[in-house]
């Protein structure tokens, strides 16, 4: 039984439990949280945050957070435990788990976190005190300070591992504490990180509380937590966001990160070798990330040459890097999607399916006609031909604001593609092979990572 909770401030050991299972079938539990206990936890987190603000510099926080996170991927017993946890929770193989953890960990290093604070806040100084504003043109001086609210509420509904840690780090960096609802599909990694953080610095460990309860409902303990939070961060679909919004006081600020899709564009002068990079992007996170490519557009005459290269690359990766295997529902949906494209192809010759026979290891559904319909299925790509980029923009317009990443290969009309990306609200345009691994200071969903969490205080003087 996995322990899906980390709750500082509980005076007694929990006696009543809520039990759940991840999609891969791993059993986990979290304590039933009464309102009184929820209040005690929130109070403990707030107290720890306020104390840490006066006794730890932001630089020290970054150091502790990076050391704790580093243990999840460096050689050592902690990383062994982390990988074992993810294998159990997600049903992933060792290689996929290791690659995912290492990829995430690149954004959790001291250097990456410092770079993020520098990029968004000009350094840690403004989090520790007032900093002179060189842009000030009024009389005297202006100094500014950035600070998060003491407590941030987090709801994690997705199941990409590590997202809960990234979200928690962002809050800790702006000197907030965290009250978190863990995702059902991957509830264990954040509690593990919190324990490692507490081992580095017990006071910082007390700035994080996380637990789980079943379903999309919000129990009384949650409403208690909501009363302590200055800001709320939600990772989840429209339904989750709406449910959270309804459960919170009307004036609570909410920062949302919703499901997104990845679009790959094969420009007219692309080289076949690009397919290998795209295949790697597909396999990362088991294609569950908002950055994962799912829709591919080939600009030009035919999808055929690129599809053949992509099929070969996916086959290579399936051998080196076997996929975890679909659920029954996914298997049924993949076969239905394949049947639709295959039989349509027999009818009009304009669509086709590439797959390793009846195996569901990977699937390419290709069509010579533009479309943008996809389903959330493992290692399944929809490849469409578009005659030109103008058509591409028209096809993608219904997805405006829902595309996280546009990957590309080739250079022909790349500038035009970047214009389309900006107009469609795409948050990142990157070459094949790097779609799945955005840099640490990437503007996730087109938003700053830290700025939405801070409140600025301006201090003006006449001299």
């Amino acid at each position: 039984m996995l322990e899906a909770w980390y709750l500082p401030g509980l005076e007694e050991s929990p006696a009543e439990w809520l039990e759940g299972r991840t999609r891969a079938g791993a059993a986990f539990r979290a304590p039933t949280l009464s309102v009184d206990r929820a209040r005690a936890v929130a109070g403990a987190v707030r107290e720890a945050v306020l104390k840490a603000r006066t006794t730890r510099s932001t630089e020290e926080v970054i150091g502790a957070v990076a050391r704790a996170a580093g243990k999840l991927s460096a050689d050592g017993p902690e990383s062994v435990a982390a990988r074992e946890l993810l294998r159990t929770e997600l049903g992933w193989n060792e290689r996929l788990v290791r690659e995912t953890l290492e990829g995430m960990a690149r954004t959790w290093t001291h250097e990456a976190l410092t770079g993020l604070v520098d990029a968004e806040l000009g350094g840690t100084a403004s989090l520790d005190g007032f900093v002179a504003d060189p842009q000030w043109s009024g009389p005297g001086q202006r100094r500014r300070r950035a600070l998060g609210s003491p407590v941030v509420l987090q709801v994690l509904a997705g199941n990409v591992p590590g997202v809960a840690i990234t979200a928690t780090m962002r809050a800790l960096l702006v000197r907030s504490g965290v009250l978190c609802k863990l995702p059902e599909s991957e509830p264990g990694l954040l509690p593990l990180f919190a324990r490692l953080l507490a081992a580095e610095d017990p006071l910082l460990g007390d700035c994080v509380a996380a637990t789980w309860w079943p379903g999309a409902s919000f129990p009384a303990a949650w409403r208690e937590w909501a009363g302590w939070a200055g800001k709320t961060v939600v990772y989840g679909g429209d339904v989750t966001v709406e449910a959270v919004r309804r459960s919170l006081p009307a004036d609570t600020e909410i920062v949302t990160y919703g499901p997104k899709t990845g679009v790959a564009v094969v420009l007219a002068d692309s080289l076949p070798s690009a397919a290998a990079g795209l295949a790697r992007d597909v396999c990362a996170y088991d294609q569950q990330g908002c950055v994962s490519p799912r829709l591919v557009y080939v600009v030009g005459e035919s999808t055929r040459p690129f599809v053949e290269h992509l099929a070969a690359s996916l086959e290579d990766l399936a051998e080196q890097h076997p996929p975890p295997g679909p659920t029954a529902a996914e298997a049924v949906a993949i076969r239905a999607a394949r049947a639709a494209f295959e039989f349509s192809g027999y009818d009009d010759g304009r669509s086709a399916v590439e797959s390793p026979g009846e195996s569901l290891d990977w699937t390419i559904l290709s069509s010579e006609d533009p479309a943008a319909r996809t389903e959330s299925l493992p290692r399944v790509l929809w490849v469409h031909r578009v005659p030109d980029l103008q058509t591409l923009e028209e096809v993608l317009r219904p997805l405006e604001g829902r595309i996280q990443t546009v990957g590309y290969c080739g250079t022909q009309e790349l500038t035009k593609l970047t214009g389309i990306g900006a107009r469609l609200g795409v948050s990142r345009i990157a070459p094949f092979g790097s779609m799945a691994w955005p840099p640490p200071d990437w503007r996730h969903e087109g938003k700053h990572q830290l700025l939405p969490l801070v409140n600025w205080t301006d201090f003006e003087t006449l001299e």
Binding site: V160, Q287, R373, E375
Partner: protein
């Protein structure tokens, strides 16, 4: 029964005529269809479908399966039900189907309707009536058939509506009645049938959807319809399941009907059919297990990922073989979960759409919501 053989100059008409005769001649317990008999029919059916159904031939060829590979019904390449949404699967070419049945409902954010072209309605009818006589209706004690069509059977091309109409006119004494009105069910007319049956002593054979019977029970319980103890021999066959009405439990429905009308299992039969399949299965009582059918309808249970047959009793995806589908494709891979049970199968449920994975957006539902799909 004559032994099927590969006739020289095989044609659809010839084979379907032989099958109609075989279906009509079948009596459970009296005439058996052993595995080799079925396999011989299956070989001939595959030859016809491979030659005459172009999309199916291409599907088989892509899997390197041809007539020489098919020695029996288990060797058929099954077609996923999704194919019926995409192409017309008809043994032709250049023939007009005698009937067109449309599938209803939405699958995984996709509302495209499928259709099953029925080349030979007589073959369908022969299978339907043979199964109904064998598993539901006692012709030595001919109950009066009363059909309760739900409103959607008024839509054109409903296989369910066609089935109820055919049974009403073709089974028993031929005096069956439909209690249809333009708005759905004519409740007054149903009350009259119930009253006449209760008073006159002739049993009824009530055919309708599970939802239609649920609506009737609501009316019986609040007094809008007449409750009477119906004579012994009365039968009730429901079909379609509880889908579409939240909170409806078939068990509660059946107990209610027993209280109101005195009909109890095994006189309550659940019919299991699908548009893509022209033969039916029937289950008695509650739960309706096992679902049994005529010997030309076979079902196997497959692992959804590997498509290997699962050990007996385990749940998997149902794959059916039906000789009544001679005019389209005999082997159909469904999205239904089920398991082997007794001499038949147990239907466990539809495979629900895969839940969203991680934070990867499925655009299908978004586009559907925007009307762009």
């Amino acid at each position: 029964m004559t032994s099927p053989r590969r006739a020289a100059g095989e044609t659809f008409d010839l084979l379907s005529a032989e099958l109609i005769a075989a279906f009509n001649g079948w009596r459970p317990g009296l005439s058996s269809w052993d595995e080799s008999t079925l396999d011989a029919w299956a070989r001939r059916a595959f030859q016809l479908q491979f030659e005459g159904n172009t999309p199916y031939r291409k599907y088989c060829e892509a899997r390197r399966v041809g007539p020489s590979d098919v020695n029996g019904w288990r060797d058929f390449v099954p077609v996923p039900t999704e194919a019926f949404r995409v192409v017309d699967l008809l043994v032709g070419p250049g023939v007009d189907p005698g009937l067109v049945f449309r599938t209803s409902g939405t699958t995984r954010g996709r509302s495209a309707q499928g259709r099953h072209l029925v080349r030979c309605p007589e073959l369908y009818r022969a299978s339907l009536r043979a199964g109904f006589r064998a598993f539901v209706y006692d012709e030595d004690n001919p109950a009066k058939i009363v059909t309760l069509p739900p409103s959607f059977t008024h839509d054109a091309d409903s296989s369910l509506g066609w089935m109820l109409d055919d049974l009403r006119v073709g089974i028993g004494l031929g005096d069956g009645v439909s209690v249809a009105s333009t708005a759905g069910i004519d409740w007054g007319k149903l009350d009259t049938e119930v009253r006449e049956s209760a008073e006159g002593g002739r049993p009824l054979c009530l055919l309708g959807t599970t939802l239609g019977f649920a609506e009737w029970l609501d009316r019986l319980e609040d007094g809008r319809s007449v409750a009477s103890k119906l004579p012994e021999g009365t039968l009730l066959m429901d079909t379609g399941g509880e889908k579409g009405r939240e909170g409806l439990e078939r068990g509660r429905l059946l107990r209610g009907l027993e209280d109101q009308l005195g009909i109890a299992p095994p006189s309550i039969v659940n019919e299991f059919g699908m548009t893509e399949l022209l033969s039916q299965r029937y289950g008695h009582g509650d739960p309706a297990v096992p679902l049994i059918g005529p010997p030309w309808l076979r079902s196997i249970v497959l692992d959804p990922v590997t498509l290997e047959e699962v050990p007996r009793g385990e749940t998997g995806i149902l794959c059916h073989f039906d000789l009544a589908n001679l005019g389209s494709v005999c082997a159909v891979l469904t999205e239904d979960q089920g398991r082997a049970a007794g001499d038949g199968i147990e239907w466990v449920g539809r495979t629900e759409g895969a839940p969203p994975r991680g934070c990867s957006l499925a655009t299908a539902e978004l586009l559907e919501a925007q009307g762009n799909a």
